[in-house]
Subunit: 277 residues, 2 copies
């Protein structure tokens, strides 16, 4: 999915939010916004949002020498999610539609986001997703694909959300590779975040080889691409990965909550919808 | 009131909205956003938002050769407001607190806005303001000041809103100068808009001498400043004029709906509040 004009102001919201997490010095923050201002005209808007985001977040990291401003927040989100793990696990086990309930849990975890549209209420929003209707629900096809799959690739999104991804991976109970970002970017999960979520017990954790906030294939490592091409079912989690992969041809199921209106429009659903496509 | 960091992304929202009103050509719009991107780092953020806004809107007008993109919208707003005039006039006349009701009408008109926070539902939002409590209500002081005033200066804001300003001016029934912008900027009222609202029947319409979207004194004409210094009661309408005049020392009453969170914080009221200060 290509970036669109509405992404432009949104990049400044994201830059401002991130800069404020790093420093309280308003002059430094203004300096960051001004540098982002100089950066954006140099980037083609034929790129996907994660490609542009990667440039922007890298610039902020270079300027501030803070490479992982969301580190504490990521850990908190993971801890919060882990406390909910037993209860959600129980709900899945007791459900008469276990896979559907596990898919719901995974998409519920996608409320955790500090990129675009970063406001959420952990417990309330989570509960909403558990009862919300899917705007698009390709569950029968997904169920069939999981049944047949010998090797699943699950491309992760945010830290904390990873705990809910783990629940779906456990429910699918197939050899699975869980993909994390190579280096910290926003609150996206890296190796350590996945381990903290207990994903090492449920899957093989591998890196995309890239720190773009979305799994852009041209930026991924050869090792990743080999695994990507061999997987017979790919699950792409969240908005950034959708933006990066929506036009790819491999058998990908996209699982996300469309928080951003641009993505919602691209998918063709109302903003706030949950989808399994 | 000085601009703040939150104004930064907001300027891009405003640029995008205005560019889209002028053209459907996405390349041209991106070009405008890129030029705004190059402009902002050159402007001191010690300025007020209308000072920065003036630079930005002037740039867009120069780039597109469209000096008044909101012309049709302004006319429509004025016509809509004029259709409501008789009914609101009747409500004021029948009220047991006529001046308060007229103040309410004037602040209700302030929902009309295409600058920052440009979403509104004409009839619904208008009715809300009619019944909403004032977060700050210096009505007794205002009433006293109106009673004593021999010459009132009323600094107008948006086209359409002008019809509601007219109702307050008629109710005050004192010699009044109604101030408009010298040249079109966003949907701010210029001379023609004020005449279309019938303000020439209730007041002397004068120009600020500036096209900033807020009455910045350093940009106003000498003629305006003379009148400003001679008025013994000044009414400043709307957000842009508040941003421009909030630190001035003349006897000014600010009448506005705080749609923007930055302005609401500056005043010390919740966003969405109506105030007479």
């Amino acid at each position: 999915m290509k970036a669109c004009l509405d992404c432009y102001p949104c990049f400044f919201h994201q830059a401002l939010r991130t800069a404020r997490m790093i420093t309280k010095d308003e002059k430094k923050i203004l300096d960051i916004l001004n540098k982002v201002s100089q950066l954006l005209p140099q980037i083609s808007f034929d790129a996907t949002p994660p490609e542009i985001g990667k440039e922007m977040y890298t610039l902020i990291a270079q300027m501030t020498k803070v490479s992982d401003p969301y580190k504490t927040i990521k850990q908190e989100c993971t801890q919060k999610a882990l406390r909910m793990y037993p209860e959600v696990k129980r709900r899945i086990k007791e459900s008469s539609h276990r896979l559907e309930m596990a898919v719901r849990a995974a998409v519920a975890g996608n409320i955790i986001d500090f990129g675009a549209y970063a406001e959420f209420d952990f417990h309330k929003d989570l509960e909403t997703v558990f009862t919300q209707d899917f705007a698009i629900n390709d569950l029968p096809e997904f169920q069939e694909a999981v049944k047949k799959a010998r090797r699943i690739m699950y491309i992760g999104d945010n830290a904390g959300e990873t705990v809910f991804d783990r629940l779906l991976i456990e429910e699918m109970n197939k050899p699975t590779q869980f993909v994390v970002r190579e280096k910290p970017i926003i609150n996206d999960a890296v190796y350590q975040d996945a381990v903290e979520a207990g994903l090492d017990k449920a899957a093989e954790i591998i890196s995309s080889g890239s720190d773009a906030p979305g799994n852009i294939l041209s930026l991924c490592s050869d090792e990743f691409l080999e695994a990507y091409n061999q997987a017979d079912l790919i699950i792409s989690k969240g908005q950034g990965n959708y933006e990066a992969l929506s036009e790819e041809s491999r058998p990908i199921f996209f699982l996300l909550k469309a928080k951003c209106p641009v993505i919602a429009t691209d998918i063709g659903v109302p903003q706030g919808s949950i989808v399994l496509i």
